[in-house]
């Protein structure tokens, strides 16, 4: 009964005109950037972070969340129609979706993608509502030692499950941790690593790093990889799937939802991993594996359901434990912190309207997205023809004003430009910048808890392995490291992401 009441509270919050409005804005923006290649949700949320400071907390969070899952819908539209995946998570959708479009079944593919996503979003939203209270009551019994082990597990798992070389990702996390240490030390009040720059005493602002690494660096890279984007739009046929498509798609949607919800919860998981895994899973169990790559409807339904479910369920660790599992969630965490809210088990108890309002808004947002995407598909396709030279000045302006507005000072803008250069160097070095953000937001929390745990135990490291929960997490962490060294696991991991290279 309590559950129903809380959900009702959530819907009450989410249905106020302001929140409904920002939910719509988020969903629209998400679809827009999902459709436009070259602008991802990470960069968009980085740009909009400073703006949420001017909004009520819940409205800002609802909008940012809407951008994230909205992008999953938008990305699939372009993947199917023009073979241009707007987001990394819809790369696999393009394989079979575009083939379907070429065979005149574009409408069918789009409808399956949208309806499958909606179904998955609904299930995952319920997953959050159910898992939230359980997990967070569990987390209330966590001491500093458990938090340290949990964060170590989370950070390492994030590198193993994400794309790219693990060693580089670990280095990026360490660099993020180091950047998070700049400023006044919370324990002693001493300033450190600031090079005596007064502007750095409060630490580096998250927005400065995020906009530098994702906003500026992305613009520079897009301008460098200058290429004519010939856009060939497939003709749209009937928008409703045939009975045959329905029959074949719905079990795939169910499986995709399961895979996505599960993988989304894992650190480093989220939409991209979910869609890749769902695709290879569908291919493996299909009775006609030869159809994959030639327009199999399961190859659209499974990954599309999975990426949406994964996007949704990756909120679970953030909202219940206060631990972001990927760089998108690191952004969300800093959006909470801008408003002075530290997400985690206590928020559920003290500010239930934030958690439940956000959960309810996700379901409403998913409903809006079906409406935004299916009948309005023509509008989004037109947008694809907008050239990048008209887009990037607007992004540039948003980035600059956003960074300046944090503290109204030149220093932050110059620093962000510096991070833009650094981000550019990292792209040349083939390092993903995402783990750096994770390390940066988790750094202070990790350090406080390590110092606290060691103070309580008088410097005896046995606290980490004498407490059962902590021990289990550490064993899992070590197990993962061992797995990474095994060649057979490394091969499987590479295979999971191989379709992208195709």
């Amino acid at each position: 009964m309590d559950f129903i009441n809380l959900l009702a509270l959530g819907f009450g919050e989410a249905l106020t005109p302001t929140n409904l409005g920002f939910c719509l804005v988020g969903a629209l923006l998400g679809t827009l950037i999902g459709v436009l290649p070259g602008i991802g949700p990470t960069a968009t949320i980085a740009v909009l972070l400073p703006i949420t400071f001017y909004l009520p907390p819940l409205a800002g969070l609802i909008m940012l969340a809407g951008i994230y899952y909205g992008a999953q819908y938008g990305g699939s539209t372009t993947a199917i129609l023009v073979n241009l995946p707007g987001e990394a998570s819809s790369v696999v959708t393009a394989i079979d979706g575009y083939k379907m479009a070429q065979k005149g079944r574009a409408g069918s593919a789009l409808a399956v993608a949208a309806l499958g996503s909606f179904f998955a979003g609904t299930v995952a939203t319920f997953g959050i509502a159910l898992a939230g209270p359980t997990l967070s009551s569990f987390a209330l019994s966590f001491g500093p030692a458990e938090y340290v082990s949990l964060m170590l597990f989370g950070l390492l798992a994030a590198t193993v499950l994400a794309r790219g070389p693990v060693l580089k990702a670990i280095g990026m996390i360490l660099l993020g941790l180091l950047l998070g240490m700049v400023g006044i030390d919370a324990g002693s009040g001493e300033e450190r690593l600031t090079f005596s720059a007064m502007e750095l005493f409060d630490g580096i602002d998250f927005v400065v790093i995020a906009i530098g690494l994702f906003g500026f660096a992305e613009i520079i890279e897009n301008l460098e990889n200058h290429e004519a984007r010939g856009v060939l739009v497939s003709k749209l046929s009937r928008l409703w799937p045939t009975r045959e498509d329905f029959r074949r798609a719905w079990p795939a949607v169910l499986r995709g939802t399961g895979v996505g919800t599960f993988l989304g919860v894992l650190p480093g998981g989220g939409a991209t991993l979910a869609s890749f895994c769902a695709y290879s899973f569908e291919k493996k169990i299909s009775r006609h594996p030869e159809e994959f790559g030639e327009g199999a409807v399961e190859g659209v339904a499974g990954p599309e359901a999975a990426n949406n479910a994964g996007a949704q369920s990756s909120f679970i660790p953030l909202l219940t434990l206060g631990i972001p599992s990927n760089n998108m969630m690191a952004m969300m965490l800093s959006a909470f912190i801008i408003h002075g809210i530290t997400p985690g088990p206590t928020v559920l108890a003290t500010q239930p309207e934030i958690f439940w309002g956000l959960v309810a808004s996700m379901w409403i947002g998913n409903l809006m997205l079906v409406v935004i995407n299916l009948p309005m598909i023509g509008v989004w396709v037109k947008l694809l023809t907008v050239p990048y030279r008209l887009l990037y000045p607007a992004i540039l302006l948003f980035c600059c004003v956003g960074v300046y507005s944090i503290n109204n000072r030149i220093f932050d803008v110059v620093l962000a430009a510096g991070f833009g250069l650094l981000g550019y160097a990292f792209r040349k070095a083939k390092c993903e910048a995402g783990p750096l953000l994770l390390g940066f937001v988790l750094g202070p929390l990790l350090e406080t808890n390590i110092r606290r745990a060691m103070t309580i135990s008088h410097g005896d490291p046995s606290v980490f392995y004498e407490r059962p929960i902590s021990l289990v997490l550490l064993i899992a962490t070590v197990g993962m490291l061992v797995l990474m060294v095994l060649p057979s696991f490394r091969r499987t991991r590479e295979e999971a992401f191989q379709e992208e290279e195709a």
């Binding site: 180091l178 690593l193 301008l223 302006l397 803008v413 430009a417 990292f426």
Partner: protein, 154 residues
């Protein structure tokens, strides 16, 4: 993969760059934190964990570089300095111009200079876009959201 691979030789250049960046930042961190109190394990000072992280970073950097030696040769995608310089100049210029001459001047600077980065830009489009975005920005950011910045230089 845009970077060309050459058969027969080894050395992953992006890995070398990564190693240089990691080791460089680790060393920089050690140097910047050289005067910080180390403390003991049970009462860690402000310098304890930064030093641990810096050393780990150096170790990881060295490992990436060392392993890169044995990989097939891969070159770094050739950098084109033009967009980098133009975009960074536009952004840094924006901060100074906006601070002293107000939002409109800063925005016009940013958009005009920024447009130079893309060789596809057409003058008429750039002018229209600059005017539109500047007006939009002034209305939404300064008037609407209340960002603390004067609109005009006077």
């Amino acid at each position: 993969m845009s970077a060309p691979r050459k058969a027969g030789s080894t050395g992953d250049r992006p890995d070398f760059l990564t190693a240089a960046l990691f080791v460089g930042f680790g060393a920089l961190g050690l140097w910047a934190g050289r005067d910080l109190t180390l403390g003991t394990v049970s009462a860690m000072g402000p310098g304890y964990l930064p030093r641990v992280v810096c050393w780990l970073l150096i170790v990881v950097g060295a490992a990436v570089g060392g392993l890169g030696l044995f990989r097939d040769r891969e070159d770094i995608a050739r950098p084109r300095p033009w967009p980098v310089i133009v975009i960074l100049a536009a952004v840094i210029g924006f901060a100074f111009v906006a601070e002293y001459f107000g939002f409109v001047a800063g925005s016009v600077w940013l958009l005009l200079v920024g447009s130079v980065a893309d060789r596809d830009s057409r003058l008429r489009e750039v002018l229209l876009l600059t005017a539109g975005l500047t007006a939009f920005g002034a209305l939404v950011f300064i008037v609407g959201l209340g960002v603390q910045m004067p609109i005009w230089p006077f």
